[in-house]
């Protein structure tokens, strides 16, 4: 029973990681940029989620608001920060992104206070009991459902719609795509919107679990998500998903059984390093 419990914890954590890392991998696949500031969008999603829920009482509205607002901000970041740096070495974009991340963290602290904010009435606290004393809260179930649905929608969009095909073409070969009349710029904006919206949703999900939106809540995501997309095979959506779940589960069992030897991040990175030494291109190749 404990084994199943830990496994499910790992899957829930993996699902959250997946929501965050997905956006990152979409952006990397398109631009080859390690978008650290993505974690700031995740944090903003959490804040919007709490604020809108506290004002209106509706979590659904909060989720939509978070996704839209964060998506828009993501597009703005592309326009202001990354587009001018596309022809520069990738390290430049990485450092610029880190500078942005630090600045955002401070803005959250200055605007919303250093203590962070919580739900007045935390939603979805109720739980369902499964066999053998296994309790799963509605919020945890929602996370898994959301991750699965978003992924399915994305997969469907990218293979069945014109926009999706255009997107895939642009990722594979931007110049060829452009010569076919695809507006590469629009694809990029769409990419940032979707990727950021997913991060915003992840932010709301995390605050549902912890009941605390605080300025530094993106700190772990800022580097963990990078590790996940690299492990998955940079640019591969399926690889990212597998990597996210793998790391979630490894952390879940690892922290309980070898938490005295290594802390959580070290466990995740030990797993990552071993995996990369065995498969230097990541779990799956991009595509």
């Amino acid at each position: 029973m404990l084994f199943v419990d830990l496994l499910i914890q790992g899957i829930v954590q993996g699902a959250i990681y997946a929501l965050i890392a997905l956006g990152l991998t979409l952006i990397y696949g398109l631009l080859r940029i390690l978008h650290v500031a993505h974690a700031s969008l995740f944090t903003l999603g959490g804040y919007v989620g709490v604020i809108v829920t506290n004002q209106t009482g509706s979590l659904t509205l909060a989720l939509c608001a978070a996704m839209v607002l964060v998506g828009l901000l993501g597009m703005l970041i592309y326009r202001v920060a990354y587009r001018p740096l596309l022809d520069k070495p990738p390290l430049v974009a990485l450092i610029a992104s880190i500078g942005l991340f630090i600045a955002f963290e401070e803005v959250f602290r200055i605007v919303f206070g250093s203590y962070g904010i919580s739900f007045h009435n935390p939603p979805l606290r109720a739980q369902i009991e499964f066999g053998g004393g296994l309790l799963l809260s509605y919020s945890r179930i929602l996370i898994i459902v959301m991750a699965v649905s978003f992924l399915s929608v994305l997969a469907w969009l990218s293979s069945r719609t014109r926009t999706g095909v255009a997107w895939r073409a642009t990722v594979t070969d931007p110049q060829m795509a452009a010569s076919f009349g695809i507006n590469v710029e629009n694809v990029r904006y769409l990419n940032f919107f979707i990727g950021s919206a997913l991060a915003g949703a992840a932010g709301v999900m995390v605050v549902l679990l912890t009941n605390l939106a605080e300025p530094t809540m993106g700190a772990v995501a800022s580097y963990k998500a990078l590790a996940i997309i690299v492990l998955g095979g940079l640019g591969s959506v399926r690889g990212t998903l597998i990597a996210a779940l793998a790391i979630g589960i490894v952390e879940s069992f690892g922290t309980v059984y070898i938490g005295h030897i290594l802390d959580r991040d070290a466990i995740a990175f030990a797993f990552l390093i071993i995996a990369l030494m065995l498969r230097p291109q990541g779990l799956l190749r991009a595509g």
């Binding site: 419990d5 250093s114 919580s118 009941n211 300025p215 700190a219 952390e251 309980v256 802390d263």
Partner: protein, 383 residues
């Protein structure tokens, strides 16, 4: 001719001004390093407000024999790398008479070295690192060492509450580890059996795996260390998993935010700390009301401890004056005053001797539960 007039004019103006402006009271500067940015900014803000309140109260009551107390504040981001140069700046450039740390352990430890090197008194308000006072005889601490508070926790759980099978969940930093060490040290004496121990990182907010494992072990009580941003989610998740046994924490939980985050799950949580909200002591209630009025939120342990540190320094300054640092140090060592956090005096090492307050969450706020005053149990190390 006009030049002469101009000179006379200027001289006359200067004379007029120096007579017209009354001689202002001298001021005595004390240094304060707090984290105002970075991950510890929440506690830094509380510490700063607590210190400012104390300074206001001291000055309103006549200051230090007529001179005003003045705070020189620097933001150290809770980083040892930043706090050391800042300490040097406070001592050599701002020429403070003494310093107070409103910051975390690492930063305090680094700054303490500088203060000791420069023979300037330094009081740590709430940092728990065991070696802070070992920097030298100029360094003092007005809050409990981690291990002292841990021992109090053992007495609380084993004797006062009568629980024997305990699961220990420890925040993996100096704060959590020293608490756990003290708890383990004293647990045998109170009949406590520690059935399991878990560590978590200060960055963790989701504790699913640990919660699952603890649930499968059915302890009588849980001794969990952390700050409000980890303890809040932890307690919340423990209760959500159906774990009903008492959860005992420490001063890291102490504040309103813990209750806000954990909501109903906070009811019944017990902590060892320094501030008694139900205290009838006029100093404590003056502090609690004054802080609420000044900051707009309820007082917490960090602000209370920093407030106390300023009062200790003020009392010592009144006795010895600000002129000679060595006699100021001696005055601090001989402290015996009452403050919001209790009766304060120091031992040979500079560690505080005071009672441990035990508080419980009832009806959404902190209230008195017990007091632990066992001087033998709570005796801090002498060196």
């Amino acid at each position: 001719m006009s030049k002469l007039l101009k000179n006379f004019g200027v001289a006359g103006l200067v004379a007029l001004i120096s007579v017209a402006v009354p001689a202002s009271a001298g001021s005595i500067k004390i240094g304060l390093n707090v984290p105002l940015t970075g991950f510890a900014a929440a506690d830094g803000k509380s510490a700063l407000l607590g210190a400012e309140l104390a300074v206001e109260q001291v000055n309103a009551a006549g200051g230090i024999n007529g001179d005003n107390l003045e705070l020189v504040v620097y933001d150290d981001q809770a980083s040892p790398k930043e706090s050391a140069p800042l300490a040097a700046k406070l001592i050599t450039q701002d020429k403070v008479a003494a310093g107070i740390s409103g910051s975390y352990s690492g930063a305090t430890r680094a700054a303490a070295t500088i203060y000791q090197e420069n023979s300037t008194p330094y009081i740590a308000a709430y940092a728990v690192h065991p070696d802070i006072t070992r920097s030298g005889d100029y360094v003092f601490r007005t809050s409990f060492m981690g291990e002292v508070q841990g021992r109090a926790g053992a007495k609380l759980i084993g004797e006062i509450m009568g629980k024997k099978k305990v699961s220990v969940i420890t925040l993996a930093n100096d704060f959590g580890k020293s608490l756990a060490a003290g708890f383990k040290q004293a647990s045998a004496a109170y009949g406590i059996e520690i059935i399991s121990e878990y560590d978590y990182s200060i960055k963790d907010r989701e504790f699913g795996p640990i919660v699952s494992k603890v649930k499968s072990e059915s302890p009588d009580a849980i001794y969990a260390s952390g700050y409000f941003f980890t303890a809040g989610p932890l307690v919340s998740q423990l209760r959500a998993a159906g774990i009903d046994v008492p959860v005992i924490g420490q001063e890291g939980y102490d504040g309103e935010m813990f209750i806000k985050i954990a909501g109903e799950a906070a009811e019944g949580v017990i902590i060892t700390t320094s501030l008694d909200r139900d205290s009838t002591d006029p100093l404590a209630s003056a502090f609690i009301e004054g802080f609420q009025a000044k900051s707009g939120y309820p007082a917490d342990m960090v602000s209370a401890s920093t407030h106390t540190a300023v009062l200790v320094l003020a009392a010592a300054l009144k006795k010895s004056g600000a002129g000679d640092k060595a006699s100021l140090r001696d005055a601090i060592a001989a402290t015996s005053i009452n403050a919001a956090t209790g009766n304060i005096s120091f031992n040979k090492l500079g560690e505080v001797r005071k009672s441990v307050q035990v508080q419980i969450v009832r009806d959404g706020s902190w209230h008195h539960y017990a007091v632990i005053s066992d001087p033998v149990l709570l005796a801090p190390p002498e060196e």
